[in-house]
């Protein structure tokens, strides 16, 4: 990965360079893995279901009350209490190609705890939800109406650097993070729209 961030004020001449960069799914996967997450890119919901079933095994699962999640988690061992669940399965509003981040929105169907209490978090992300930069994702969150009471940006599994300033993975939040990216790779071009935050 180049480490370049379109939010940092793309110049006109960067447009060509942007076009030659890897696609959003490829960049997202690389960035997520760099921070200790796993990306599973699948063509459709059926394939997503297979991946999620493999990841959950016969463990217990809490899941968002969401049609996509319901379809993909169908048949798994569901529980209601997240503190008793091995895995939480959620959706995400957006995911960031440049940083491997997820943008989560909490409401009645998407409680805060599903993505933070169980030791494993699986997020289902349709490819069109990918955006280029972190700033783009913040703009997406800001546009949600009505403004949700809770939102969260997540970049990798929880971690702490508090013992000798060395990052270890697995602290209070999930110890493992899987993102199942659903949809064809070319369903969205790599170039993002105008980077709203950066343009002045």
């Amino acid at each position: 990965m180049t480490g370049e961030d379109p939010s940092s004020g793309a110049h006109a001449e960067d447009a060509g360079a942007e076009a030659s960069r890897p696609s959003f799914p490829v960049r997202f996967a690389a960035e997520l893995e760099r921070v200790g997450g796993r990306c599973h890119h699948v063509p459709d919901r059926a394939a997503a279901r297979t991946v999620v079933a493999r990841l959950c095994g016969d463990g217990t699962v809490v899941a968002d009350a969401d049609p996509l999640v319901a379809e993909v988690t169908d048949g798994l061992r569901r529980v209601e209490n997240p503190w008793e669940a091995d895995t939480g399965v959620t959706t995400a509003l957006a995911a960031v190609a440049d940083t491997g981040s997820l943008a989560l929105v909490h409401d009645r169907e998407h409680p805060r705890r599903n993505s933070v209490v169980p030791p494993v978090h699986i997020a289902l992300v349709p490819v069109p939800a990918l955006v280029g930069s972190y700033a783009d994702a913040i703009v997406r969150l800001a546009a949600v109406r009505p403004a949700p009471s809770g939102m969260r940006m997540v970049t990798g599994p929880s971690s702490s650097g508090d013992i000798e300033m060395v990052q270890v993975r697995g602290m209070h939040g999930p110890l493992a993070l899987h993102v199942v990216l659903i949809g064809a790779a070319d369903s969205r071009a790599s170039g993002s729209g105008a980077p709203e935050v950066a343009s002045e």
Binding site: D5, R108, R112, A135, M153, D162, I163, M171, G173
Partner: protein, 493 residues
Amino acid sequence: MSGRSIALHGAERVPHSRPEWAGSVRPGHRALLPLVTAEAVSRPESAATAARLTERSREWQDGGWPENLVPLRERAARIRRETLGDLESHLAQLAAKVTEHGGTVHRAATAADATAIVRRIAAEHSVRLVVKSKSMVTEEIGLNPALEADGIEVVETDLGEYIVQLGDERPSHIIAPAVHLAHRDVAERFDALAGERLDHDVTALAGFARARLREDFRTAGLGVTGVNFAVAETGTLAIVTNEGNADLVTSQPPVHVAIMTPEKVVPRMADLGVLIPLLSHAGTGQRMTVYQTLVTGPRRAGESDGPRELHLVIVDNGRHRILGTRYEEVLACIRCGACQTACPVFRTLGGGHAYGAAYGGPIGAVLSPLLAQHEQDRELPYLSSLCGACADVCPVMIPLPDMLVDLRADDAASGRRMSRAGWRAWSALWSNRAGHRVSLAVAAAAARLLPRRFLTRLPVARRWARGRELPDLRGAGRLRRALRRRHRTGDPA
């Protein structure tokens, strides 16, 4: 109603092996800084801490700012300053939005006012256990001791804060509270807490803390967090962590109290897209920290988690006196701790404890005396070699070294007549050619005639000679003589 802490069960077994000036409650009076710093430097732990911080500093900070962050840094500096220029209207907008979303906003002028508000909220809900996500302002206002005085248990859930809480210490670094401790020290604390020998692998120790703290998130009656940024246009509070503890603290307990100082406000949501990547890079060398928890009001009807009540406490504690002065920019600080990691003085002291204030390092040496909570903080601006490394790494370009120099001038102007007279006399002497020449001759004569033992007892020389051989002052004035001779004869120097 709430339960009692599992995380602190056995905490009385953890020995408190720290110097007095590192204690969790800031002592009302501490020894003078030259004494404290000498003691800090002599502790073997300090050298180990310095080595760790230096290594991180090289990893994260060497090579300067990544190209993609340079424009972000300039924008962040501008956003922060523009906000300060119209702080009150941003705060009014923030308060209106938080209220609109069902939160309650409290304004507190002083630390005592702020702690009184939190105590009242805790009392109203019969809270016995509070879980906290890391917050420097609660250190500044002394929230934990205030709640504990009411018989409430307060549990720090950030791993580093939990470690220092067990040892009855203050955090030693803004974002790495336990940076002064080695892996072995943490293992010893956790062994004592558990009453048995644990697996000392770092991941296992983190796992022990995770397991210990987990139940407390569920049973606490109140969750307390700081605020990294508060968005005026939406009333959204942004809390930045790696551990995910803020997500639990703001979602599990029935009441959430968020505490911030006025300058944490930012105008727009979009500003987070600029500030958070910078905070991540500057603080821990990460591209992004793991979690940014965005709270907009308490839980809504039908939601199954999130607090039923949200209180936002905005505590000024001296900030209004800084606004509009030449030090206003210090309020642009986003508490990344980069200036601390970069500071060779902070590193050599083994972290921030020796500064004796809530905030150590360059930012603390500027901010603490301005907050004027303690008379002794007036000493802090002198605790710097003015090397400027802090300004290089500051994500919002605060001119900390210049402020240190200016604070010294303010301090000198307001006290110590003797020293002022001495500097004036010296400047008068050296503003005069004959005076300059005479002073050099006196220095040379003293160096030639006086025995070394006597020389090293002279006021300035004595302090130099603590650890260093004196420079050879016998040559004072030699340069001028050599140049005059050269001028006369045309000889090479």
